[in-house]
């Protein structure tokens, strides 16, 4: 399904959940797995020193340091990597999101897998900081391939997923998200939930939305879902449609929990935002923050077509 998977990691416990998904997914799909770690910002132009992203201190970079970091990574993932003899460990110094995007483009990655943060955060601290890690935001914004964000332990491995929820706002990126979700659901044989929330703002707040307005919006949304998505299901029939009204991120999370979603697929930014200006849309950011299952961000039509699994290995 994914020929090449790029797992961008800090090689620390905060990426452990994402690591398990990355190794499991690449093993199941016989994908080429790149484990990639960016560990500092270089000085101006070519330089033998780099600035540590976390401490701000200057360090010298040389071949010894690079091989030491690679060795550390390989040791850290020794247990997970034992079934991946051809897994490639690579490092770079630089601005993490630039290097990850550069690497994904250069290797034509079909999927990028990341954790949501590079450091352990108290749940309480998240509300005062950038909710999602800034590297993850920037990668999700500009990547041409889907980005899988894993911030909690994923109890079900990809090929055993039973429910995929695709949350749409009818924007162009949402259409790509739908195509990707439909293809994955068809490929692994699970149920697809096509979900849309009519945004009427937080409950209890003064809102201009009357009951008849909400019903009108829901009816219009249902027609759009039929025209845009049901008409494009092809021979795939294992789907259900769900429409709600309320605050989008709250309803997406509630629906995902009710339907026991194993994966939420969403577009990175909404239709109202200029792609060049878009940081992670507030809805997906809130969903990533609280979701119990992985969230997949899709931005571009590239790589939404998922091909069948590779040839079976001997003994399978």
């Amino acid at each position: 399904m994914f020929e090449k998977i790029l797992f961008a990691t800090s090689a620390s416990p905060t990426c452990d959940d994402a690591a398990r998904v990355a190794f499991e997914l690449s093993r199941k799909n016989r994908s080429k797995l790149f484990v990639y770690h960016v560990f500092g910002l270089p000085g101006r132009g070519f330089s033998l020193t780099f600035r540590d992203v976390r401490t701000g201190e200057s360090e010298h970079v040389d071949d010894n340091l690079v091989s030491l970091v690679k060795e550390e990574m390989a040791q850290y993932y020794e247990k997970l990597g034992k079934d991946h003899p051809d897994c490639v460990y690579e490092t770079a110094t630089g601005e993490p999101h630039t290097e990850i995007l550069r690497k994904a483009r250069k290797d034509d990655a079909s999927l990028i897998i990341m954790g949501a943060h590079t450091r352990e955060e108290d749940v309480g601290a998240m509300r005062h900081r950038a909710i999602a890690g800034s590297t993850m935001q920037k990668v999700a914004k500009s990547a041409r391939c889907p980005v899988l964000i894993v911030s909690r332990p994923c109890v079900t491995c990809w090929s055993y997923f039973a429910n995929i929820v695709v949350a749409t706002d009818f924007s162009k990126p949402s259409d790509y998200a739908f195509q990707f979700a439909r293809n994955v659901a068809k490929e692994i044989g699970c149920k697809l939930h096509v979900f849309h929330c009519v945004d009427i703002g937080p409950e209890g707040q003064a809102s201009t939305a009357t009951q008849s307005y909400i019903e009108q919006q829901l009816a219009a949304s249902e027609k759009k879902v039929q025209d845009k998505y049901v008409a494009n299901m092809g021979d795939f029939d294992n789907y259900i449609l769900a429409l709600r009204e309320g605050t989008p991120h709250v309803e997406v999370l509630k629906y995902a929990r009710e339907s026991k979603a194993d994966l939420i697929v969403m577009a990175h930014h909404t239709k109202d935002v200029d792609p060049e200006q878009a940081m992670l849309g507030s809805t997906i950011e809130q969903v990533v923050l609280r979701s119990a299952c992985p969230v997949l961000s899709v931005n571009h039509p590239d790589k939404v077509d998922v091909s069948p699994y590779g040839a079976p290995r001997s003994g399978e």
């Binding site: 701000g56 749940v123 601290a125 909690r152 109890v155 039973a162």
Partner: protein, 179 residues
């Protein structure tokens, strides 16, 4: 500072044990937890004071779920108590330098160790005692330079801090079966 006693049955009690019916009047009052206060008491407080559920988009569902949850015995093995603590953290790098103040609800194990509670659905934690913890002062992001002080917490901070944490709970306890 005014005090408000949070009773184990979810009542808000003013000094002299008269019941407070308007939670807005006591949002700024210092919280005192009555003996036997648990997470169930917190959810009962939300049920009795629907106005408080408007402080968090997930609180209404939390209050609505109580009727369908077990009446007792909801204590997972290994968790002794839930502690709501306040943290003041000075962060120097990456820039800009800043000071952050936030509340966090954490699980405390029988040996006093911190426990991650996000994986537990709320209904499995209902009868775990809730206590107020100290203020932690973290200097320049270094957990080694961490000071602890006695502090107080008002009703707004208490409701918001716990409500924020509980919005992260909700993972299904089992996976669905494929058709």
């Amino acid at each position: 500072m005014d005090e408000i006693i949070l009773a184990a049955n979810g009542f808000l009690l003013r000094y002299g044990e008269t019941q407070e019916v308007d939670p807005l009047c006591v949002l700024g009052a210092r919280v005192v937890l009555a003996e036997g206060y648990t997470l169930r008491s917190f959810v009962q407080m939300l049920c009795l004071n629907p106005l408080l559920t408007r402080l968090n988009p997930f609180a209404k569902d939390l209050a609505g779920g109580l009727a369908g949850w077990p009446l007792s015995g909801c204590v997972p093995a290994g968790i002794e108590r839930l502690e709501l603590s306040k943290t003041v953290e000075i962060i120097g790098h990456p820039a800009p330098p800043r000071l952050e103040i936030y509340h966090a609800l954490r699980g405390v194990g029988t040996g006093g160790e911190d426990l991650e509670i996000k994986p537990y659905p709320v209904e499995t934690l209902l009868d775990v005692p809730v206590v107020l913890g100290p203020l932690k002062h973290v200097v320049f992001g270094d957990r080694m330079d961490e000071f602890r002080f006695h502090t107080v917490c008002n009703l707004f901070e208490f409701q918001e801090g716990i409500g924020w944490q509980l919005a992260f709970h909700g993972a299904p306890v089992e996976c669905a079966l494929r058709r």
